[in-house]
Symmetry: D2
Subunit: 197 residues, 4 copies
């Protein structure tokens, strides 16, 4: 049985983003678990701020079309996202807003797993709770567990793994659980009004 | 292939609760879809207000133990809940608080589907968004779609079905989708620290 | 100029609750700042689980009537609340649900300040974000700052003050700011449909 | 006594945005109530997607500096915001994210009032609940009442007022209440660590 196909990215444009390091590690662990992972750079999905007039003419921007294509091609999405001001980054919400306008809307029926790294003690988990809302509203079945990495500046070793073995093991187990869910739900379960079944 | 085992209840003590009518219909539709449904009356889970001193001595109350047993025995939980003051009912959160103290904690690894009936136009969906938080935090994989029934006083026919065929069809399809998810995920995918895999 | 009248309580029935210690300290600091504080024990507001049939007959229970009277008599409410399962305690939401049915509904036009103590590192702040929703929905103007006390078991000295001077100063300043807001807004600003202005 | 100074804008770039019409009306009503209103076009605050590397070099973009200046110059902010995907628009969150990096951070100590227009029956209120989180987290004291305008395409008359007198009266009263709060709290009450009192 082949593993699930996943799209993974960090919702940060910053070159030295902790979430970039975390998603790279998560993608490695997912591949070790049998997944076929498309690890994207958030810059590949660069797009303007959402504007209904732009959507009408000239239409959905290329970066959003690209993200929609890459979401449509997989069974699940894995996002490592920083927390900005107690919520998700505007940049990530903007990408979700554009992609939600693409027909057929690609998020519906996908599974998802969320992670956050921060250099404080809370680890960005509050932002992920806000991020669940648009994703679930768009029909993504999110794994209930979320992985938050606090004190990120001291967390990674030179090999990109986590220095603390216990944290690494916990992340590996969470990803294994998510892969199991992504495999079982591949094909989707959310309501699709056009097929009706 | 046998259908999933489900526990279904309305989070209301009121005899003529719209959510009671809605969960009865949802249970019927789930049975028609092959599920084995334990339709409970919320009064069977009557318990005092949570008190840490009571938990210490004399211990978890019988109503919470009963609810924990019934949750532990199924693959998924289906809850129809009213919205009180823009959030979930305190009564339902109180039951979750007590049951979350039972060892082993029975919510982890279950799936869930949420519904709400109200006699206004919003249909109680805002309360369900708040209800997702403790359930997902406790390890329940919730179906992304939620069913909200507005104007409940005019919605039900004498047979307990919905008068509007379109609404009934939409509920049936949502439940079919949830049953598919509940069947595929039976056995659980959330992280269980004690087994570690 | 006289200080604002405040009702303060911890949303916990437990005798040795950290939130009880925290609200006692907060009430002391508020009195030092000129407030007239009614420090209540949550047990004074003991009431059954909300049941619409009970509300209809025999009516609002005495504990809810008592809480409504005490809320109605003040300019603002100060609540120290534990976090249960990533949200507010069911017990506190149950009290809000009952009191919201009392006419005239006493929360409207009040100000409020929220605190949380926990014995972990997050300090209960996630639960307070959920608690804001019903209170604001009912017309309470909440101070934007919230005070979260982590590692509560080591935080208090024998005099009930906080061992770390910096934490104590921060709490004192927050309370002074809230008192200023409570004083300025005494009399209420939320929409009251019956008076219309 | 002079009225409060307010910054008002709709969080939409679309020329025919319903929220643009709603904020124009709200600004008119606020001026009738004595406020000094700076009615801005969201396009004046155009800025790129947030990028920590851009912030480091070349720095905060002009659109964010402009918004920060305009926020800093007033007592309160009034925002009419569409709901995108059950939450706030990514564009608005992006603006908040940039402005929150300006020193001194201009949101702290301001008051705010939120509105939403939509062409459906829910009126966008769910998005406003998510929008409260970053604003309150940044120290804005938000009025508890929020104004949601459903079925916006039929709501406005040719004079820009609301066709239904009752809706218009309700909006006028809410704004009067907010003006009262904005006047009383002008000068700020949120904690400012640099002044300490």
């Amino acid at each position: 049985m082949s593993g699930p196909r996943l799209l993974a990215f960090a919702a940060s444009f910053r070159r030295n983003s902790w979430n970039r390091k975390l998603i790279t590690l998560a993608a490695d662990l997912a591949r070790e678990g049998g997944a076929d992972v498309d690890l994207a750079d958030f810059r590949e999905f660069d797009m303007p701020l959402y504007d209904g007039d732009v959507q009408a003419e000239p239409g959905i921007p290329p970066g959003a079309e690209e993200m929609a294509r890459r979401v449509a091609a997989v069974d699940g999405i894995v996002i490592a996202s920083p927390e900005y001001n107690f919520s998700m980054p505007g940049t990530l919400k903007n990408a979700i807003d554009w992609v939600s306008r693409v027909k057929p809307m690609p998020f519906r029926g996908k599974t998802g797993f969320l992670l956050a790294a921060s250099n404080g003690q809370v680890g960005g988990i509050r932002g992920l709770w806000q991020l669940r809302i648009p994703l679930e509203g768009l029909g993504v079945t999110l794994h209930p567990d979320m992985y938050a990495l606090p004190w990120a500046s001291k967390a990674f070793g030179p090999d990109g793994r986590l220095v603390e073995q216990e944290r690494l093991d916990r992340l590996r187990v969470m990803i294994q659980r998510y892969l199991e869910m992504a495999r079982k739900l591949a094909g989707g379960t959310a309501l699709n009004p056009t097929t009706g079944s």
